[in-house]
């Protein structure tokens, strides 16, 4: 039995749990108040901000805590674009790679509908890597207000050419949003960002903490009715205990990053090598080298991913699938679609920090018969009645 869905949520780190429990006792008050309880909450909040800023490589006053990674992305995209839109010069242009997280693409779509912003979605290669030249060319288009590129892909693990994109954007004076969600706590933030977003759940922090960093000098305007919280970037009373837990987990994950990377990289390499051999008609996605250590996605022909996930769950393995060929309302994974990869029968395995070699080996043993069984079931269901 094993939990292999760390890319959705890394289990809460013990140091995060300790920080959460003590902060529930000490950091519950409103940090904007002047009384001792408020000052104590404020002190804890600012300590957490300094710690997270140091781990990310930004200034504490550049960093705001949001209520989720998705909220951080929405605020980053809308605030950066709306700060540079003007009645005189029109709604402008936004660039994003085709494999961004849905929160980025949804925010872009929202701007297109609500404000008429032109949106260019740029392509990726078959490994899921953004085409840096195409991205740069799109960023050079007139009145480009924002370009968005993730640090690494959340489904297939491929690292993105952020530094090339950043150089092209800097040359044009175009701000670059780097969505760090998949790699925060696992790799240093790439250089050259103007806005940075992340989610604490992905590094073993609690749910409900997103990060939004806005580099000094980057124009940004609050897209929602503002109050005085979080540098006027995120409205509402911050969840101080959860923020402290997120900071404590990030601090430990950052310190142990090299060891975790080495261990998980070897286990994912084993999965990448074994699955194509033991599962007929399967294909492993993403860059075999320039990738995150903990994520691997593969597709098995002639099965649907949902059934595979359900059967693996019954066998004790928690994985996820981007494919949804059963539910009428759901779409195939936009990441695999953009890569031109098989969108059905896919399984994302994302290893938590303490994944054992034994659990991975056991998973690799149970997988082939499960795929074979699901294939038989699907084939029987699809056979003509005659």
């Amino acid at each position: 039995m094993a939990y292999f869905d760390a890319a959705s949520a890394e289990p809460l780190h013990p140091s995060g749990r300790d920080a959460l429990l003590s902060a529930l006792a000490d950091g519950w008050a409103d940090p904007a108040r002047l009384h001792r309880e408020g000052r104590r909450a404020q002190l804890l909040l600012e300590q957490a901000r300094e710690s997270v800023a140091a781990d990310l490589g930004c200034r504490p006053d550049e960093l705001s805590f949001a209520s989720s990674g998705t909220q951080a992305v929405h605020l980053a995209v809308l605030g950066a674009v709306q700060a540079r839109q003007s009645a005189a010069r029109g709604p402008g242009h936004l660039v994003a790679s085709a494999v961004e997280h849905s929160s980025v693409l949804n925010a872009a779509d929202w701007l297109a509908r609500r404000t008429g912003t032109a949106v260019t979605i740029t392509g990726v290669d078959s490994l899921g890597r953004a085409d840096a030249a195409e991205f740069a060319a799109a960023a050079r288009r007139e009145r480009t207000l924002l370009a968005c590129l993730q640090s690494a892909n959340h489904e297939v693990g491929t690292l993105q050419p952020v530094e090339e994109a950043a150089a092209a954007c800097a040359a044009q004076g175009v701000p670059l949003l780097v969505d760090l969600a998949a790699s925060a706590g696992r790799m240093p933030a790439p250089a050259g960002w103007s806005l940075l977003t992340a989610s604490a759940r992905k590094w073993g922090g609690p749910a409900g903490v997103g990060l939004l960093a806005v580099r000094k000098g980057t124009r940004w305007r609050e897209p929602l009715p503002a109050d005085d919280r979080e540098q006027r970037r995120v409205p509402g009373f911050p969840n101080v205990p959860a923020v402290l837990a997120a900071a404590a987990s990030l601090s430990v994950m950052s310190r142990e990053r090299a060891a975790i990377d080495t261990a998980l990289r070897a286990l994912v390499a084993r999965i990448r090598a074994v699955v194509p051999v033991t599962v007929p008609d399967s294909v492993v996605h993403g860059d075999p080298e320039a990738r995150l250590a903990h994520i691997v996605t593969f597709s098995c022909l002639y099965v649907d991913g949902e059934t595979l996930v359900t059967e693996l769950d019954r066998a004790g393995y928690s994985v996820s699938s981007g494919s949804a060929c059963v539910a009428d309302t759901r779409q195939p994974s936009h990441v695999l679609e953009a890569m031109g990869a098989l969108t059905h029968g896919n399984v994302r395995v994302s290893l938590p920090r303490d994944a054992s070699a034994q659990s991975v080996d056991e998973f690799l043993r149970v997988l082939p018969p499960i795929v074979a069984r699901v294939r038989d079931t699907v084939r029987a269901a699809s056979a003509p009645a005659s």
């Binding site: 693409l105 979605i121 002639y302 098989l342």
Partner: protein, 107 residues
Amino acid sequence: MSRQQRNAQSGVRRSTLGSGAPPAPVPAEQAPAPSLTLDALGKKCPIPIIMLADRIGEVRVGQTIAVLADDPAARTDLPAWCALKSQEFVRADSLPAGWSFLVRRSY
């Protein structure tokens, strides 16, 4: 509603697809009629792919087989299957509802 449909409505421009995107269409009049047509309309992936895999052996090497399907996933999965199986993906044509995918048996 698919992302493509939403994008079409909102003016989002998809400048390119990935390298696995279907090749540029060949004018229909240059291609002979398919030797076999499989109706997978209303069937969800992976059923259209299973039908193709099961029946491509019924046409001779060099002949074509058409798969009619309306699951949006088929637009990626048919070309991806051809690439994995070293069969030739000829083109996709839009139908009033769905698409017709033309595949040439290459071995």
